[in-house]
């Protein structure tokens, strides 16, 4: 059977499964809609969190990025896993004990202020919309590559599916769909990785394989270092980035992960405080399956690619080369007209442009794996994009219906009306996300800098200080969040998006302390903490009832399931 038919079958089956689950897990109350009724087991929640977390970028782009960045790719690997330690140790158990539906609810209650709540809602909406637009785009891209439909048609199909189970099922539907999506995506990622590891190193475990030797008895990493250097790139296992920048990017991604509302909200769905800790552990273990495999895939694919194309004649290129040339993701330009592919570091001589995404998408074809494996990658990419999109849409709808309408504008709304508002907000969110997917605004490409930087500079410090520093008051927290946000936004607008100032003057040489926009969230976080501490020491301590609330959330006993009041 052709790749095309296999893709239709596998994608169709997986979609039927998601819809089936959505119908089975309809939400009947706001509690089910916002936190799945608070009765999800830690293992299931771990899987759902993993699927929620691993986006189209993790599945499709990350291994490719690492394969071109070499050692520097570690910023993503450590950055997007290390945050779970912070979540499990510093955030999840206490927020679970606190027992509300959302992050803005915590900020609003802990800092006894609707201003703080509104700042938090705006941050949550902004972060989530930036992130979700990228996911919808990802759905469109996968559809267009594998099923040869228009990208926009792909976005519409994605919207329809997410619409169905997010609007109908809320958190309950999303959670159980995500469990299924985790299984699909991890299977789709691992099967090709294992096949290729066996082919190249004889070891079925990719994590060990890439430290092993190839048939000629040379360590694979040494071989790749050699290939890289021969072509003028730096050695694969050393990086090119400045150490302080690597430090800052890693820290910003870790802290940002722990501050992302769609990740935090998952820990409100388990029954107990100890389940919140445990489920963060499971989540990381499930995520690690992909995250420890990706660097191996990166090494296999890069070695394979260089050996197949470098200094070979263009006419002898295999079929996959031609297939991917058609998509524009692979471009060959014969600069010296010798008919031979020169892939080198020197930009003026390099003749081959390779898009990051090819590494995962074309890997099975490069390694000549059977057609069903190629099709599986499409189903996996879609599972990754859809699961993340759904989680984000839920945060958006909850922020609107619960934190804005119920808590501020229409406090008398009944549970039934609130559920309806939540569904309507989810519907609007799907439509807006789809619109952004079709007409991506310029800032979507900077999603990493924006979403993580802003989460790191705003939510994370406010929550941590709310739990661990009883004396922190509303003046301090609001001043901290606002200053962290503004300075980070300013930096990204100036040095990443070039909306402020003259682009020519804002290259890497003028970065503050040599920190790239992706790593600036770390600086923003420090600014937030410093401002918060100074302002709070100059103003009144928080009222007694807030201080007792903080003492209360530090002790596990007495946690009911997440509740609404």
């Amino acid at each position: 059977m052709s790749i095309q038919i296999w893709t239709y079958i596998l994608v169709g089956l997986s979609f039927a499964l998601y819809i089936g689950i959505a119908i089975w897990a309809r939400a009947g109350s706001t509690k089910e809609f916002y936190v799945a009724g608070g009765g999800v087991s830690p293992v299931a929640n771990g899987m759902a969190t993993a699927a929620d977390w691993m986006s189209a970028a993790s599945f499709i782009s990350m291994a490719g990025l690492i394969s071109f960045m070499g050692y520097d790719g570690a910023v993503f690997l450590m950055g997007w896993t290390g945050g779970y330690v912070l979540l499990a140790l510093l955030l999840a158990p206490y927020l679970r004990k606190f027992g509300k539906f959302t992050v803005p609810a915590f900020i609003g209650d802990r800092y006894y202020s609707n201003t703080a709540r509104t700042v938090a809602v705006i941050c949550a909406l902004f972060v989530s919309f930036t992130y979700v637009a990228g996911q919808m785009r990802g759905v469109g891209v996968v559809f267009s590559r594998f099923l040869e439909v228009d990208i926009n048609t792909g976005v519409y199909i994605g919207m329809a599916i997410v619409f169905f189970y997010a609007v109908l099922g809320g958190m309950k539907g999303i959670t159980y769909t995500q469990v299924a999506q985790f299984c699909v995506l991890i299977f789709a990622f691992m099967v090709p990785a294992i096949f290729i590891s066996i082919q190249m190193t004889g070891n079925p475990i990719p994590q060990l394989g890439f430290g092993g030797t190839t048939q000629d008895g040379i360590y694979l990493l040494d071989k790749l270092n050699g290939l890289n250097e021969e072509l003028g790139f730096s050695a694969y296992t050393s990086g090119t980035k400045d150490m302080f920048d690597v430090f800052c990017i890693t820290a910003a991604l870790m802290v940002g992960t722990a501050g992302l509302p769609h990740v935090i909200v998952r820990f409100f769905t388990v029954p107990k405080v100890k389940d919140a800790r445990l489920s963060a552990g499971y989540a990381l273990a499930f995520i690690a399956v992909l995250y420890t495999t990706a660097p191996a895939v990166a090494v296999f694919a890069r070695t394979n690619l260089i050996e197949t194309v470098s200094n070979e004649s263009y006419t002898s290129m295999p079929q996959w080369f031609k297939n991917w040339e058609k998509t524009g993701l692979l471009k060959f330009e014969d600069k010296n007209a010798d008919g031979i592919v020169q892939y080198v570091a020197d930009k003026s001589k390099n003749e081959l442009t390779i898009d990051n995404d090819i590494i995962v998408l074309a890997n099975p074809e490069i390694a000549r794996l059977p057609n069903w494996v190629v099709a599986l990658v499409a189903a996996g990419g879609l599972a990754a994009a859809l699961s993340t999109a759904a989680g984000l849409l839920l945060v958006i709808s909850t922020s609107v219906s619960h934190d804005l309408l119920k808590k501020q504008l229409m406090p008398k709304m009944s549970d039934k009306t609130e559920l309806l508002t939540a569904r309507i907000s989810a519907m609007f969110a799907v439509v807006i996300a789809g619109y952004f997917g079709i007409h991506p605004p310029g800032f979507v490409a900077s999603v990493v800098a924006l979403a993580f930087g802003l989460a790191a500079a705003s939510f994370f410090p406010a929550i941590i200080m709310g739990i661990f520093y009883k004396r922190m008051n509303k003046e301090g927290a609001i001043a901290g969040m606002v200053s962290g946000l503004i300075i980070t936004l300013y930096y990204i607008a100036k040095f990443k998006l070039h909306w402020i100032g003259v682009e020519a003057n804002d290259g890497p040489e003028s970065w503050w302390f040599g920190v790239s926009p992706e790593g600036f969230g770390t600086i923003g976080m420090v600014v937030n903490v410093v401002v918060a501490l100074i302002v709070s020491s100059l103003t009144q301590p928080p009222p007694q009832n807030v201080q007792s609330m903080v003492e209360e959330i530090r002790i596990p006993r007495g946690a009911g399931s997440a509740y609404n009041h």
Binding site: I66, Y71, G73, A74, L77, M78, T81, G82, Y84, V85, A88, L89, L90, P93, Q207, L208, F210, G211, G212, T213, Y219, L220, L221, D222, T237, S238, M243, V246, F247, T250, A251, M254, K272, V273, K274, R277, L278, A280, G281, L284, A285, A288, Y291, T292, P295, E551, R554, I555, P556, R557, G558, A559
Partner: protein, 85 residues
């Protein structure tokens, strides 16, 4: 629970956090970034050690840290009788 106990419970928790977060920092920022070059001089199989910590080892340690914390806290909660029923 008496106020003194609450204090002791919280202090013990903070001590666990300090120790575990130091390990968290050491395996990622330490071995994988700040001392990467020195670590790379040691090789295990095909892996320069600093590179291994940055792309593999830190993640395994992260998982271990969380599960150790879960165990420590479950025991502590029981000891101070603040666990959930």
């Amino acid at each position: 629970m008496a106020a003194k106990d609450v204090k002791l419970y919280w202090k013990t928790n903070l001590r666990y956090l300090l120790i575990l977060l130091s390990i968290w920092f050491a395996v990622s920022f330490g071995a994988g970034i700040l001392f990467k070059e020195q670590m790379d001089l040691i090789k295990i199989a095909g892996f320069p050690l600093g590179f291994w910590f940055a792309q593999q080892g830190s993640i395994y340690f992260f998982i271990a840290i969380i599960f150790i914390y879960v165990r420590l806290m479950n025991k502590l909660d029981e000891e101070f009788d603040v666990n959930e029923h």
